[in-house]
């Protein structure tokens, strides 16, 4: 699966949704879109394509989120539309477990970089 790229997905950062997310993690909604709202606008927008990919054959019930990294060029504003593309960076089996590294690139409406992320998923056998 390594190298597989999925179609870009556009996500509108609704101010109410970003505020509800801030409250859910104990952050001040007035402090801006929470950094890890990227788990929604980048990873959450794209990872379902991987999980739903029959070729990838990922057993969701055995999936663990093992590592996560985000890098921001800037943080998006409430109300902004961003577009994210996901890619399988690596897919290896080791000691009976499968390790899938999934990377995303998120850009703003002008095509400028917003966020890059890398998730490591472990699928237990």
């Amino acid at each position: 699966m390594a190298g597989r790229t999925y179609p870009a997905v556009t996500f509108e950062i609704e101010p109410e949704r970003a505020a509800a997310f801030a409250l859910a993690i104990g952050a001040d909604p007035a402090a801006g879109v929470p950094p890890t709202f990227a788990a929604v606008y980048s990873l959450g927008a794209t990872a379902p394509q991987l999980f739903g990919d029959e070729d990838a054959a990922i057993d969701f019930a055995k999936l663990l989120h093992a590592e996560q990294e985000f890098q921001w060029s800037r943080h998006p504003e409430p109300g902004e539309k961003v577009t994210s593309q996901g890619r399988v960076a690596s897919d290896i089996n080791r000691r009976g477990m499968r390790f899938v590294s999934f990377e995303t690139e998120t850009k703003d409406a002008r095509g400028h970089d917003v966020c890059r992320s890398r998730a490591l998923f472990v699928i237990r056998s």
């Binding site: 859910a24 993690i25 952050a27 019930a61």
Partner: protein, 116 residues
């Protein structure tokens, strides 16, 4: 140093599931979680990282200054666990993050942030 101590609850985990859109039943349903070998329902790793990120943003002087955030989800967090999250300066523009439960076990490792 910025810090926050959080005792996790089922309600809080369910609220995060709604807010994030991650409704994986391992976070919502004890019976399902046990059926896949977990002790019961567990908190989202991203809920822990969200709290760590909030503490990191405070230490960095605001969300807008945060450039990078990373962690490994090293141990499960279940309702009733109390986790202390801290962000400490570790060099120019760098923060070392930690999240330790009530037994002194790190639940996040390789946790760091950069800002500027």
């Amino acid at each position: 140093m910025s810090e926050r101590t959080v005792t996790f609850t089922k309600d809080q985990i369910a609220t995060y599931a709604d807010a994030s859109g991650d409704h994986n039943p391992i976070h919502l349903d004890d019976d399902f979680a046990r059926s896949v070998g977990l002790p019961g329902l567990i908190a989202h790793g991203m809920l822990q990282m969200g709290i760590a990120g909030t503490v990191a943003a405070e230490a960095a002087g605001g969300v807008a200054r945060l450039r990078r955030l990373q962690c490994r989800f090293a141990a499960t967090v279940v309702p009733g666990d109390t986790v202390s999250f801290t962000a400490k300066p570790a060099g120019p523009g760098t923060l070392q993050l930690s999240a330790v439960n009530q037994r002194g076990e790190p639940v996040l490792t390789k946790a760091a942030a950069e800002y500027g």
